[in-house]
Each structure stands twice: as C-alpha cells, then as structure tokens.
C-alpha cells in the first residue's frame, strides 16, 4: 500500500513540476517564436512586397478582428508615411490552399504587390506562382478594387501556362483581399493614424 501511494505521489509531483516549467517557458518565448515564424515563413513575401520601407514590417504589425477571424496587418513606412499595409489571404489551389500576402497602398487604393507565402502546388508548374517574379510583378500598381480573374476567364491577370488553377487561386485570393480591405478600411485608417511615426 505504501509503495502504491509513493508511486502516485512521485508521478503526480513530477508531472506538475514539468507542466509548470513548460508553461512558464512557453509563455516567455511565445512572442519571440511567433516573430521568428513570421520572419522566416512569411518574411520573404512581406519583404518583397514592402521593399524599401524604412521600418521592420514584422515588428510593426497589428491585428484587427474581421468577423470571427483575427487578421494580422504589416505596416510599411515609405517617405516617413505609414501608408502601406500587407496582409494574408488564401485561395483554393491545385494541391490545397495557396497563402498569399497582398500589399495595398492605403493612400491611393492601389496594389503594391503580392507574394505567395505557403502552398502545396506541383513543383515546377504551380510553384512558379511563388518563384517566378514576372507573375507577381504584373499585379503591381493595379487598382485594388472589383474582381480579379485570369485572362482565360475574361479577366486581367496573365495566367501561368499550365497552371491555370494555381493562377485562379491567386486571383481569387486577391479578390478576397479586396473584400477584406473593404470591410476593414475604416479601422485600418484609424490604426495607421495612431501609428507612432
């Protein structure tokens, strides 16, 4: 009987101490870990879109509530003005969701650039949406409104040859971004006004 109690006590105490230790380490590293994840997973796309900004967009981020989801916005400061935000949407691709970072100039509602963050498209075909700079570059400067569709569907976006579904996913993600931007525009403007210069 005594051995039984000892077993229970030892295991309980060990588990509690270990749980407590891990909880404290997790809460201490949480912020740093999410920063690192953003920096290495989404960072390349964000940096490409907000190229030349004078701040670190990953540090200067804020979140807004959009219905039930929380979205992160990354601020780019150009010429001393925090006038550009980048945020992430996604579209249905050939092999799953295609994550897309979209940069918008808030001052004149134009598209600053896009960049694919995460995808599971066919390497060498759909994956060119991420690796081919010409595909992303065509979005630069387009007016950020209405629907984005690929040329085969009667739209304005040049599809990647052989990867129409992926291109549609990207175009759809941009269309989504337009809708999100429309919903959150006033809140976004408020946030940027109070942005520390």
């Amino acid at each position: 009987m005594r051995e039984m109690i000892q077993m229970v006590v030892v295991l309980t105490v060990l588990s509690c101490v270990s749980g407590g230790l891990l909880a404290s380490i997790k809460s201490n590293t949480e912020e740093r870990i999410s920063y690192q994840q953003l920096k290495f997973v989404k960072g390349p796309a964000i940096r490409a879109i907000l190229e030349g900004s004078s701040n670190d967009p990953i540090t200067d981020r804020f979140t807004l509530q959009d219905g039930e989801v929380e979205r992160s916005f990354f601020v780019g400061v150009f010429d001393g003005q925090p006038n550009t935000v980048a945020f992430e949407t996604s579209g249905k691709g050939f092999g799953g969701d295609v994550g897309l970072m979209v940069g918008v100039n808030v001052a004149d509602n134009s598209l600053v650039g896009i960049g694919v963050t995460t995808h599971s498209e066919t390497p060498g075909v759909g994956s060119r949406a991420q690796s081919d700079p010409a595909f992303a570059a065509q979005f630069k400067g387009m007016p950020f409104e209405g629907e984005f569709t690929v040329k085969p569907d009667g739209g304005q976006v040049d599809a990647l040859s052989g990867a129409t579904i992926t291109s549609r996913a990207v175009a759809g993600a941009v269309t989504d971004a337009v809708k999100i931007y429309g919903r959150l525009k006033s809140q976004l403007a408020d946030q940027l006004k109070s942005f520390p210069k």
Binding site: E3, V10, S18, L21, I25, K26, T29, Q36, F40
Partner: protein, 201 residues
C-alpha cells in the same frame, strides 16, 4: 571495478561512442546528417537533454519507485526535450525548420533513456553528469563527422552557421548518393569499419 571519474567521461568519446559502438539512436543519426551544421545542432540538443535528464534522474534515484521508473524517466526527458524545442524555435528558427520532427523525437531516443536507466539511476550525481557529457559529446562528434563525410563527398561543401563553404572546387562532381538515406547507411557502415580496424589490437 570502479572507474575513475575521468574514465566515466572519456568512455563516451571512444569506447562507448553512441552511434558506432553502442549502435543506438540511429534514426536521427541517419536522418539529419546531411550537413555538418545539422549534425552539430542535433548533437548539441541531444547532449543538453542527456546531461539534464541524467542530473535529475540521478538526484531522484532514491525517490523514484522502481515500478514506475520508466514513466518517471520519460516525463523528465520529455520536459527537457520540449524546453529545447521551444528555445530552438525562439532563437534558431532556421535550424529548427531543418531538424523539424527530429527534435521532439529525442524523447524516444534510446541513448537518452538508456543512460537514464543503465547509468544515472544507479550512480551518483557527479558521475552521472560526466557520463551524460561524455556520451553527449561523443554523439555530437559522431554526427558532425558523419555529416562532414556525407556533405563533403555528397555536395562538396561544409556548412557552418548558415553558410556553405566550397571545399572541393568547381570541377568536383558531387557524389549525391551520399546525401540520400541509403548513403547514410553506407557512410555509417564504412566509418564503423574504419573504427573497428583502428581499435583492433
């Protein structure tokens, strides 16, 4: 036949060097040693877990009831592994991306549990620390050596701190077989063979 303290430490570096002599913990050894850097990262993570778990197991060896000792060891090991995982994510994220699943898998690495069961639960604190450090450093050196052989012949470079250094020159034709998983077995076997030849009296 009590060993001296120095012997406890040194045995992990040659006589009982884990992947080659004990032939334990081969899963991470074969999987992550594509580059020197990965090997060293994995080795250092394992060494930390090994030393910490040896310390705790040795300190608690009189308290832990023998019927649930394995469960207790696993709790201790799993805690330290999670600590390593979180710290690595926070401070060395690119390395964490490369080692990926093999960091959490240190929990089930037989070297760590083996040392806790076979050594730390029967020896005092000082000896357990020395044993953990010896075996850990031996493991790190083995991974680094295997990683160096595979990377040097397989891609002609040596990677330290994110920067691959070209060693073999432009005309070198990489022996890419060594970077693949079967190449790891072949390289490990050849190194074991050389070690046995050297150790033969």
């Amino acid at each position: 036949m009590a060993k001296t303290l120095t012997q406890e430490f040194v045995k992990g570096l040659w006589d009982e060097i884990p992947p080659f002599r004990l032939v334990l913990g081969l899963c991470p050894v074969l999987a992550v040693t594509k580059t020197v850097e990965n090997g060293i990262g994995m080795g250092v993570a394992t060494t930390f877990v090994l030393v910490c778990s040896n310390i705790l197991v040795s300190m608690l060896r009189k308290v832990i009831p023998s019927k649930v000792r394995i469960a207790c060891f696993i709790i201790i090991i799993a805690t330290f592994v999670t600590v390593v995982e979180l710290v690595m994510q926070a401070f060395a994220y690119p390395l964490f991306l490369k080692l990926g699943i093999f960091i959490p898998l240190i929990v089930v690495n037989c070297i760590v549990l083996g040392r806790a069961e076979a050594f730390a639960s029967k020896n005092n604190l000082l000896r357990s620390i020395l044993d953990g450090m010896g075996i850990g450093i031996g493991f790190t050196l083995s991974l680094a050596a295997l990683g160096a052989v595979r990377e040097l012949l397989g891609s002609g470079t040596l990677t330290f701190w994110e920067t691959p250094i070209q060693i073999m020159g432009p005309s070198f034709q990489p022996f890419t077989f060594l970077i693949e998983a079967p190449g790891a077995f072949v390289a490990l076997g050849l190194m074991l063979c050389i070690m046995n030849l050297l150790g033969k009296k």
